[in-house]
């Protein structure tokens, strides 16, 4: 491959954001939106092209690019495999939706907002493409900055507190990860991931390194008990910010576990499995119960995200085919569903400027289309078969059952709680009588909102009935991951 297609993919949003920055946009001019929409759609098309031309019968990294960046130290190395391509496509799919959502929700500094979103997209794509630890780290941490700004500048009344909390938590973990990366370089003499896979890190260092990476991923995931930044960040973030946060940023940690923790530190991964299982089921049960009691729609969905991510971590550390494929599927599916749910909240927030559940009630009488979509995504969120939400959870639990039936049973019980908070939310927001007279004046979803929600809805249903395209994409990469893991576990005594 001569043409640097991944580099183009990553930097296309950045270049267009520079273009927007330099262009003179008038106040009531939508051209900034058009430019960014166009570029993000171009990125999306390009990512689809990469997906379709990827050789799925191989688990190797493809579209490799390698340039020396700092001589003999860091190489700017990119490549994708079956796992990362899904996250790339998810990113490029969600970004245009976020841009469209700005039309209704962002009223001030639109241009700067779009620039932030596009830069963020570049960083996120960089995370999923990079095959060098340092490059990964840079993208991973750089993503904090635009997100911090999105919350801090365009957020709600408590935005500064939330932005700092977000920053504090995530920085805490990443410092340790940086130290671990330096340590790995010192050990192996390279930061190239594929080489590190080959070299195999000695057993005695694995645990400490694993913990360092874990501390970063656990915060980003977020896992209990370092999840408390998420509800606050979501509540204060503007709609597009919440969507990106829930749909993509949360997935970087799951991806990190799959790309780094499992293959680089297999022995430590096995060693710490009980820890992950425990934290996962606490996350599932604890945050589901907390979600049940929320009075703020966004907080409720945020807590439900934590619970859903609990299934992801649970699935990854089962080291079974079903568990890992289920986790990946759950991440993609949650990306779609949570994005849609936050957009749904955004729709009514734009109209009434309240996120409180008690403000609403009986919306179905006046906003039938909106109510239909809301219920659809709520049902997907509680894992109804026929929506993508079901298969991810079911596969994860199938996988988990093979490792520890007790954990799997507790986690399965979380599904009951999931139904409880989602249906109760729907009942209080959508059904019942309308007590708030303002609701009677509300308009149903407009064309743009319908476009965003329906496209997400169709995908949620499509993957619910026919997940084969996603599962087939990751099939060989996951096989490879598991094989390498099992080899490493078997050769434990020999190292």
């Amino acid at each position: 491959m001569n043409f640097p297609i991944l580099t183009t993919l990553i930097f296309l949003p950045l270049v267009s954001s520079i273009f927007i920055f330099l262009s003179k946009v008038q106040k009531n001019d939508n051209s900034a939106i058009y430019i960014s929409l166009f570029s993000s759609l171009a990125t999306f098309t390009l990512s689809l092209f990469v997906w379709f031309s990827l050789d799925l019968s191989s688990s190797d990294f493809q579209f490799l690019e390698e340039k020396s960046w700092i001589n003999d130290f860091i190489k700017f190395k990119l490549g994708v495999d079956g796992i990362s391509i899904l996250f790339i496509v998810l990113t490029t799919f969600i970004t245009p939706i976020c841009i469209i959502s700005c039309v209704n929700s962002v009223k001030t500094r639109v241009k700067e907002f779009l620039i932030a979103i596009l830069i963020l997209e570049t960083f996120m794509l960089g995370v999923f493409c990079s095959l060098d630890l340092v490059v990964f780290y840079l993208f991973f941490e750089a993503g904090l900055i635009p997100m911090f700004l999105i919350i801090g500048v365009w957020g709600g009344p408590k935005r500064v507190y939330s932005a700092f909390k977000f920053f504090l938590f995530t920085l805490l973990g990443s410092v340790l990860m940086l130290a671990a990366i330096i340590f790995i370089y010192w050990l192996t003499g390279t930061t190239d991931i594929t080489q590190i896979y080959e070299i195999k890190i000695p057993k005695e260092y694995q645990n400490i390194l694993w913990l360092a990476f874990f501390s970063s991923f656990a915060v980003k995931m977020p896992m209990w008990p370092v999840h408390t930044w998420l509800p606050d960040a979501h509540v204060e973030a503007p709609t597009a910010g919440s969507v990106i946060l829930a749909a993509i940023l949360l997935k970087m940690a799951g991806y990190g576990f799959l790309r780094f923790s499992l293959p680089m530190f297999p022995l430590a991964s096995e060693y710490f499995t009980p820890l992950i299982f425990t934290l996962s089921i606490i996350a599932i049960i604890y945050t589901s119960l907390v979600a049940l009691m929320q009075e703020d729609m966004k907080k409720l969905i945020a807590y439900s995200s934590v619970a859903h991510m609990g299934y992801v971590t649970l699935g990854i550390f089962t080291f079974t085919k079903q568990g890992i494929e289920g986790s990946i599927f759950q991440m993609i599916s949650h990306g779609l569903i949570s994005a849609a749910l936050f957009l749904c909240v955004g729709v009514v927030y734009d109209r009434l400027h309240s996120r409180m559940i008690s403000t609403y009630g009986g919306l179905v009488n006046y906003l039938p289309k909106y109510s239909f979509l809301f219920i659809l995504f709520a049902l997907a969120g509680l894992g109804l078969p026929g929506t993508s939400g079901f298969l991810g959870e079911f596969l994860v639990l199938t996988g988990a059952f093979q490792k520890n039936y007790l954990i799997a049973m507790v986690a399965t019980f979380g599904v009951v709680l999931g139904a409880a908070y989602m249906l109760w939310l729907s009942k209080r927001v959508i059904f019942g009588n309308t007590n708030n007279s303002e609701i009677k004046t509300l308009k149903d979803v407009n064309k743009l909102e319908t476009l965003m929600l329906v496209s997400l809805g169709l995908l949620v249903i499509y993957f619910g009935f026919y997940p084969v395209p996603l599962i087939d994409t990751v099939n060989f990469s996951v096989d490879n991951l598991i094989n390498n893991y099992e080899l490493a576990i078997k050769s434990k005594g020999l190292n």
Binding site: F164, K165, L168, F169, P225, V226, T228, W229, P231, Y286, L289, V290, A291, L292, M293, Q294, T320, K321, Q322, E325, G326, G362, V364, N365, L379, L384, P385, G386, F390, L391, F394, L395, L397, T398, F401, Q402, Y405, L406, A408, M409, T412, F413, V415, V416, L417, A419, A420, L423, W424, K427, I430, F431, G432, N433, F465, Y466, P467, V468, I471
Partner: protein, 635 residues
Amino acid sequence: MEYAIIFLPLLGSILGYLGRKLVKYFAEITTSLFVSLSAIFSIILFWKGLQTEEYGNYKIFEWISSGNFVANWSINIDPLSSVMLLVVTFVSALVHIYSIGYMSHDPHKPRFMSYLSLFTFSMLVLVVSDNFLQLFFGWEGVGLCSYLLIGFWYKKESANNAAIKAFIVNRVGDFGLAIGIFLIFFYFGTINFQEVFDAAPKFIENKLLFFGFESSLITLICIFLFIGAMGKSAQFLLHTWLPDAMEGPTPVSALIHAATMVTAGVFLVVRCSPLFEYSVTALNLVTVVGMITAIFAASVALVQNDIKKIVAYSTCSQLGYMFFATGVGAYHVAMFHLFTHAFFKALLFLGSGSVIHAFKDEQDIRNMGGIRKKLPYTYALMLIGTLALTGFPFLSGFYSKDAIIEFAYLRGSSLGNYAASIGIFTAFLTSIYSWRLFFKTFHGSYNNKNIPINETHESPFVMLAPLLLLAIGAIFSGYLFKETFIGHHSNDFWQASIFFLSEIKHDPIPIWFLFLTPTLVVISIPISYYYFIYNTKILDDFKKTNHPLYYFLLNKWYIDELYEKLFVFPLKKIGSFFWKQGDLGFIDRFGPDGISKLIKKLSNKAGLFQTGFIYDYAFAMLIGLSVLLTYLILN
């Protein structure tokens, strides 16, 4: 044709709703027509199956394949599923037609019809599945439709609550079903019915440690599958949602909560007979739960006053019969009762709907009475339904219910005998509460103060016609299909779809036993008439002197209250506690907030050193210098 049966209702559901604005009655006619077509095809399919004994399995496309976890979307037609297809589409078609009349004043008719068709589709997907995952899809799909239809009148708070309750209680059952599936996949490595059933004999000896108890694998699987069945079929402890589900429109109650969805649990147990047959423990559990449900629901039905709730508890009780039939190994009899029950219970529900319609949405039987002359057709149809339900000789319920009791008796074990006696006693109770409902509604004096008797009116033809068809089914289905379903050659019909480990006994039954139940059923009619119409004073006195017992029954054994105290309230409390004390009070207080406060405090303290006075700094330097010097000298 198989594809048409399954997909016509779905198509009708979508088309009907989308085209609702084209012509008046578009949604009603489209959905009814499509489901009726599906019903006609099902009848043909069933008939063809009877004649040729040929069935088939059609794969639509692959649903999921992750490692060896493989499931297809498929249509599996065998005797068992063809019976279910027949029942579901037939009752559904009639309920669709009935709804055109019943819901004629409702502005949301198209949505209602669309949901009904969607339900039918989900139910069909459930019964034609050839693997556990598709079954699970249909299982939750019907749960969803039930949720949507119970909460159809979404402005009513009680309807919303009932809908959520139904979904969540069912989810508790689904939890069991899911665990059952995980267990099956873990040990069998497949979730395809045929492969699992073929492999079952190999796993009889497998034991595993479960929560410290050593248990046989098959038993464990069956128990978890049965928990799923209990949720869907409203068996004791997981039954609480069914009476509340009566908040939905009456046609829904007839279709979903009487004839079809609630029987899915029975279907599951029968479908998994190749597993259940290898586990005596699980079968005994099924028998016991079935028995308890049968008698519990019948006892509660005795004192309820809401016409629909009585019929709902009656459904619950009849489902109990079906379960203990499966428990004693008479799967085919359970299916037979499921088959006849669908007719007469749908008839009773729709008949009740007709009464409710006549009284303009009055449901309390204390406010009815004496209207048999005003509603002659409904009266006659309800009479047939009641006779069939109570098991009056030669009507459908007689053949199926008595067969259950006889098979329990033939089982020979003490549990079988016990089940048989419970069955007989419950049949008597069934008879009493059914006649109570019937007499209080149609006989005696007219008791409604809001609506003058002249304003009550018979239902339109579009509502009565389906009732008539159901009545024909309620009368003849027992007699006509007795030989096919449970006769000496029933094995020829069921083929491999029902599995019996040991040959079913067809021993002769003592004559006194044969006559016991019908006699009780017949003499209960004058008894009921006497107590409920002729001389009500005796019962009123009895109520007054036996307050605790009466309220115990009236409040359904206080199970709802118990659950509220035991689960709902504590869970909410715990949720609040985790949020306020866990997240805010602990993690945040000692985490980010704590750290930032600490740093602020420290920096404030550190700031105190910077006084800005030169002598302070000089003093500090002096001390520092002296400490350093001391250190150097001492070394």
